[in-house]
Each structure stands twice: as C-alpha cells, then as structure tokens.
Amino acid sequence: MSVLPEERLAVALARLILDPAAPPARHIAVGAASPIPAAACWLVKKQGHPVRLSLLHRRSGNPFTEGTRELFDLTGQGRIDLFFLGGGQIDGQANLNLVGTGAWPGTGVRFPGSFGSAFMYFMTPRTILFREEHSPRVLVERVDNISAPGVSEPGVFRRGTAQALVTGKCVFTFDPTRARFTLAALMPGETVESVRTATGFGFDVAEGVAEAPDPSEAELALLRGPVCDEMVETYPEFCARVFGRKLAA
C-alpha cells in the first residue's frame, strides 16, 4: 500500500505526541490551517488514548464560549499541554519568525504575522514545530525577526519550548539547555547529508539515526477512516487530496 507524505508526517507527529519521555498531553489545541497536526491528534485519540482536542476554527463544536480569548486564558491556566507552531523562518535555536524577512516588520517577504506564538511558545509545556518545507530558506542559521524565542534567559517565566521539529525531510528533537537541534529520524529517501544540505542551521545527529518506521496498517486504517471522518468538515480540500474523500454535498 503506498503511503502519502502527509500520512507519514501525521504518523510521525502522533508518535511524538505519545513520546513517553515527554510530559503528558491530556489537552491539545490545534490552530487553523493545520490539517496534518490535526490528523495526528485525531489519530492519537482514535488509537484510544484519553486526550481532549480543542480544534480552533472548527465551525461546529468550536470548544470555546469566550471567543478567541479563551484559548489563551486556557493556556495561561496551564490547561493546554501541547500546541503546534510553524514559522516562515525557524532557526537553530528554535526561534520562530512569523512576521517576515528583512527589517521589522518584514520589509523583505512579509508573512501574515505572529498570531499567538509569542505567548503560546512560553506557556505550553510542549510545542511541536511543524513545517513541511525543509529548505535553507526556511531553516536558517538565525531568523531575521523573532516572533517567539526558542529559549529564554534564566528568570523569565516559561513552561516549555520546542519538543521537536518535524519537516518533510526529517524529525529533529530540541534540547533547550543547549539550544540545539538533533537529527532524530529521516523521511524515506533522505540521508544525513541531504538534510544537512537543505538546512541553514547546524545540528547534531543522533547515534544510529535511521528512517522513521513506516506507518503501520492500523495507523493508516485509522487515518483513512475515522480520522478522515472527523476532519472532512473542517478540511474538505485536504481530505479530498490526501484521503480521496469527498464531502457530501
């Protein structure tokens, strides 16, 4: 059975969510326009793990009744265990740039903006960074502008930072004490060297780094069935493209 890259990424994310070495993920929030992280979360839930999902921008069943403020309050209270962030640029210290390249506020290429990243990255015990494009343009030595810093000075209140960075080419884990990524697993067809060429920042390589295990039959069956069922209303285009599912008219 052929496995699509999106499915492989969703499975890689799901395995990181379930990493037993990380603090528990009882409540995960997923932002808008994040179908692959959303699929990963639904996969974890459909595997039977007790997890609460707050899917922002879901039209029906939006979990909030205080408007968009509630996500941030909920996170401030310490009730959100895991969040996903991306970035127009991500650097080797896990700094995120969602603002733009060039001088502030993005006089080169302007990205949409920082959203809640400058808060969520501090206040969530675990953040999984996710960016499909893996290129020296995105993964840079040093971001032009910091929307949200990967590490903070001692004394600055911070509950967590990046657990890992997942791209179309690999999985990096992040060590905040050293402010440095480690290449932990490769996507099919990639090598340490191909990743190094595509990455603007320096990183360590885990001992015995290898290809991430393929998604299992069970994982794929869940993704293509019950996970897709849950996602098709919110992400019709994604479900059509990846799972070949059409939303009933």
Binding site: A33, R59, F119, S147, P149
Partner: protein, 274 residues
C-alpha cells in the same frame, strides 16, 4: 430602537478613527467595511481582534487605512492578504505587530478601566522590541528577578462587528463570539450591523441573554443582510471560500482590486440608487 442605514453608519465614522474589528472567524461587519470604502474614509487605524482578515485587506486596498495594529493579517486558506502586503511594501501604511493575547489583554484593561494589565510570555520577542508602548517590570509579588510584561489599556474609538440580530431595545445577539462583547465594552462607541431586528428584549429571555450585548454599549444598529459575508455567521450561513479566493486572485494587482471593488463594493449601491 430605530436602525440607521448602513451608509449613515459609515458616515458617522470620522476619518482617522481607531476601529476595532474581529477577524473572519468572529463576526466581522464586511458590510460596514464596504460602506466605508464607498464613503471614501481616510486615515483609519484598524485594530485586529486579535488578527485581521478580509475586511482589513479591503479597506487597505481602497486607501482608507493609515495604520494597522494586529497579530496577523491573512485570508486564511486563500493565503496572504494581497493589499496589506502591497501597502506594507509601498510604505503607505504603518503596521504595529502584536500577539493575540496581548490585544485581548489591552482591550480587557480598557474594559475594566485600568491603565494596564500584565501578560506572561513575549519577553525576548522582537514584537516587544518594536513596541515602545509596552513595558517590562519586575513582578512585585515575586521575590525579585521575575520580569513580566505590562500592556497599556487600549480604548478604540469604534467597535465594529456584525451580529445575528438586534431587538426593540437595541440589544444585539452575537452568541458565543463573546470577544465582540469585550470589544464593545472597551470601545467608546459600538456600531453593529445585523441580519434583522426582532421584537422584544433579549435580556428578558434567559436563553438569549448570555449571548447578548446590552444596548448600553451599542450606539447604532444598521440592518445588513448577509453583512458578514464572505465570513460565516454562526449557524446562519457558512464561510464563502470561493468569494475570498476570487478576491485574493483579483487583488493581486491594483487594477484587479479596482475591478473587484467596482463589482462587489460600488455596484450594489449603484443598483440601489437606480
């Protein structure tokens, strides 16, 4: 309560006003934004609560905007906001970047009538480095060495959003989108477009009261059917992705934007006048 016309509502917005607007997932009044384009508003300062969407891009493209304060400007699935991006490049607007909870917090400070409120996070971000109006203090409740951000209260001149309905008393119902209530509380004046006006008093109905914003905060109501479109309105109508995608394609160029406005902003008025 007697509704005013959409054009009268737009006329009541002075050039240069600071207008707080919810984004595409939270009841923007796209109808009022179009009316502001028609009236030729200038120098508006827009506050995205906490981000900005379609209406902001439209107002920027039409030259109505001097400044945008927001945590992001985006057309969602349809991609980057083309007129915002062009204006930023051309230097015709000032952009003050924030982060979502900071905007909520600045409005909540105004809602409570306090001059500032704290927020965790943000320290070490270049957002903070570019906000001379934000301050970091040492938390007075810790033993020292606990820096924390203080944000000033922000009181918009105008809160603008689209509600499902208004009642005879001028109360408006926005359901679960309670950030609209915070915007109304924090602002000097709330201008609200609605699908319809119904008899009665929502505050007397325990089922409707929780999603109601009291007339105390509402200066004027105008009827604008499908006034949030292309944004969704709770369970009344859905997001019109095709409309936004069409806009995003057209608005890539000045000429395309002008043609889009001629059809989608000015034609309706012309039709009404004929």
């Amino acid at each position: 309560m007697t509704p005013i016309s959409l054009e009268a509502m737009a006329a009541s917005v002075p050039d240069g006003a600071l207008i707080a607007m919810p984004p595409d997932n939270s009841l923007p009044s796209v109808a009022l934004a179009k009316a502001l384009v028609r009236r030729g508003a200038r120098g508006l300062r827009l506050l995205g609560v906490p981000v900005s969407g379609f209406a902001t891009d439209l107002l920027i493209g039409a030259g109505c905007v001097a400044e945008v304060e927001t945590s992001a400007v985006s057309l969602g699935e349809a991609g980057f906001a083309p007129r915002f991006t062009a204006a930023l490049k051309a230097g015709t607007i000032t952009v003050r970047d924030a982060t979502c909870p900071a905007i909520h917090t600045m409005l909540q400070a105004a809602e409570k009538g306090v001059p500032f409120m704290p927020l965790r996070g943000v320290i070490g971000s270049d957002i903070l480095a570019n906000r001379p109006d934000w301050k970091v203090i040492d938390n007075p409740f810790a033993g020292g060495g606990d820096p924390i951000l203080l944000l000033p209260a922000k009181q918009p001149d105008i809160a603008a959003f689209h509600a499902v309905m208004a009642d005879s008393e001028g109360n408006v119902w926005t359901g679960r989108r309670r950030e609209c209530a915070t915007i109304a509380h924090a602002s000097k004046r709330a201008l609200v477009t609605v699908e319809r006006v119904v008899e009665g008093n929502f505050l007397e109905d325990e089922r409707l009261a929780p999603g109601t914003i009291s007339a105390t905060y509402v200066e004027a109501v105008a009827i604008a059917e499908r006034g949030a479109r292309p944004a969704a309105l709770l369970d009344e109508y859905g997001f019109d992705a095709a409309y936004v995608a069409n806009y995003a394609r057209a608005a890539k160029t000045d000429a395309g934007f002008a043609a889009w406005c001629a059809e989608h902003v000015f034609a309706s008025l012309q039709a009404a006048a004929e």
